[in-house]
């Protein structure tokens, strides 16, 4: 059963309970007491010690202030850059469809870090291993909802069957449009090389405002060309060497 997240940012009240619950459940350490001055976001972004991150977008809408909140998370890509890149096989796909870093395998090579098109996974400096949202794999196995979805007071984070969530996201967008909220868009990048995400979003304005790239790209799509180039170069070098000694 393909599980997924639907984060309906139009219901988010920016309370950060999801961030706190995630850190508490997963015993994630603090990552700095830094006041950023960027609205109420002192978290900064997803990272090795932040698996949920609530974004605060301040803007002017219809002549007055508006404040949009959206809780970001690992996208659990259908084809995941991090998973493909991982040389140890530490990153696996679980039976719930999540992309999971096995902490007892990861050797901290850091390759996944530059292979995530969403800038999610990172290596924790003092620990040395890479961390990201686990999809609450331990809770899933126990039949529990992820911690973030459980605490969300407004059901901005919804967890369940992905197809059902997709239908719900579309319906919600349409309902909002009918109410005059015409700038809500569903983020569900299925027609891209990552083949879709298991975390879909409904946000107001442009997806870009929330760091959701219009066309996330799976880095391995460039492997073939890269290897071809490497092979050509190797051949060229072999020829040069042969020529150097034989001429």
């Amino acid at each position: 059963m393909p599980d997924g997240f639907f984060t309906d940012a139009t219901l988010c009240i920016g309370c950060k309970a999801c961030e706190v619950a995630c850190k508490e459940w997963n015993q994630v350490p603090a990552d700095g007491f830094v006041w950023t001055g960027r609205s109420y976001d002192n978290t900064g972004g997803l990272g090795h010690s932040t698996y949920r991150h609530v974004q605060f977008v301040e803007r002017i809408r219809e002549g007055g202030p508006a404040w949009d909140f959206s809780s970001d998370v690992c996208k659990h890509c259908e084809r995941a850059g991090c998973l493909e890149a991982c040389p140890t096989g530490s990153i696996v796909r679980t039976e719930f469809g999540g992309v999971f870093v096995q902490p007892d395998i990861c050797n901290g090579c850091g390759y996944c870090v530059v292979s995530c098109p969403f800038g999610v996974i990172d290596r924790r400096p003092d620990d040395g291993r890479a961390f990201k949202c686990t999809f609450c794999y331990d809770r899933q196995k126990a039949g529990l909802k992820p911690a973030c979805a459980t605490v969300c007071p407004t059901e901005s984070i919804q967890y369940g069957d992905l197809d059902e969530l997709r239908a719900r996201a579309d319906a919600r967008r349409d309902a909002l449009a009918a109410r005059g909220v015409t700038d809500a868009v569903v983020y569900d990048p299925r027609d891209t090389s990552i083949g879709g995400t298991r975390a879909i979003f409904l946000v107001r304005g442009s997806c870009d405002d929330y760091g959701l790239p219009a066309a996330p790209e799976l880095p391995s799509v460039r492997l073939r060309a890269g290897w071809r180039s490497a092979a050509g170069t190797s051949l060229l070098m072999a020829i040069i060497l042969a020529a150097a000694f034989l001429v």
């Binding site: 972004g45 990272g47 850059g81 493909e84 890149a85 991982c86 040389p87 140890t88 096989g89 530490s90 395998i105 990861c106 050797n107 901290g108 090579c109 850091g110 390759y111 870090v113 530059v114 292979s115 995530c116 098109p117 969403f118 800038g119 999610v120 996974i121 990172d122 290596r123 924790r124 620990d127 040395g128 291993r129 890479a130 870009d208 760091g211 959701l212 790239p213 996330p216 790209e217 880095p219 391995s220 460039r222 492997l223 060309a225 890269g226 290897w227 180039s229 490497a230 050509g232 170069t233 190797s234 060229l236 070098m237 072999a238 040069i240 060497l241 042969a242 020529a243 150097a244 000694f245």
Partner: protein, 267 residues
């Protein structure tokens, strides 16, 4: 805007890119020279450099790992879709083949079986060595950072050619200038220079200063010195140094570029 993560790699990784590349090409030089019956000093130097690289590279890699004790987990799986996995296996095979080749080479007078073993291990070391010199470009190209990803085709060439010049220079510095090594170094410097001229002509902005300097060193400067060397031999040593430094610098420059790319995306 999506904020992408910066590479977490410390100096060991670019150092490994360089050392591994030099060692890889050195093994290929050793193989070619052995097959062509080149002079023993060159062969010995190339083998030594290859072996040295084969020994140092894993140390560099291990030292960069977040969990160095788990280096061998690299060999839990072999994944074609992970350039790092392919590279790790390549390095292992390369190390083995280089070591074996050296043993066979020292023992070569022992007979035909050993001679055949030498040829086979040399070929394996040379092949994996050339992969070692180029795969790092593939590895960077198959990531999400645009500065690398956009150059996924040229990075392997750049890294390979740069290793080629550096390896020839290293062998030359150890074993003394030979015609063959000069030819290799000349070719490498010439290719680099062509690339440099093309990018000048296209008015491509410099990626960063480290890379620009590295290119100047390994490209036009090395080429100029090599040409000068044809008239005045000591210039060859200077050219070799320029190629080596340029090659090493470029690896650091490329990692730096990745870091800067990620930083520019935050905010």
């Amino acid at each position: 805007m999506t904020s992408l993560k910066a590479p977490v790699w410390t100096w060991e990784v670019p150092a490994y890119f360089f050392v591994g590349g030099v060692a890889g090409v050195a093994a290929a030089i050793a193989c070619a020279a052995t097959l062509a019956g080149g002079d023993r000093a060159t062969i010995g130097a190339a083998r030594a450099i290859a072996l040295f690289g084969a020994a140092v590279s894993p140390l560099l890699l291990i030292s960069d790992l977040g969990r160095p004790g788990r280096f061998l987990y690299m060999l839990r799986v072999f994944k074609l879709r992970s350039a790092m996995s392919v590279g790790a296996w390549t390095l292992i095979v390369f190390s083995g083949a280089t070591t074996a080749a050296l043993v066979y080479w020292i023992a070569a007078p022992a007979g035909p079986i050993v001679a055949a073993g030498l040829i086979v291990t040399d070929l394996v070391a040379a092949t994996t060595g050339l992969v070692l010199a180029t795969y790092t470009g593939v590895l960077l190209g198959a990531t999400v950072l645009p500065v690398w990803a956009e150059r996924h085709r040229t990075l392997p060439i750049d890294f390979g050619v740069s290793s080629l010049g550096a390896a020839a220079s290293a062998v030359e510095l150890v074993a003394g200038t030979t015609e063959a090594m000069v030819r290799v170094a000349l070719a490498a410097a010439a290719i680099k220079t062509v690339f440099w001229l093309v990018s000048l002509a296209r008015r491509e902005p410099a990626v960063n200063r480290t890379i620009s300097r590295a290119t100047l060193l390994a490209g036009p400067l090395a080429l100029g010195l090599r040409l000068a060397g044809l008239a005045w031999a000591p210039a060859h040593a200077a050219a070799a140094l320029a190629a080596l430094v340029g090659s090493g610098l470029s690896r650091f420059g490329w990692i730096e570029a990745g870091r800067a790319d990620a930083a520019s995306m935050r905010q």
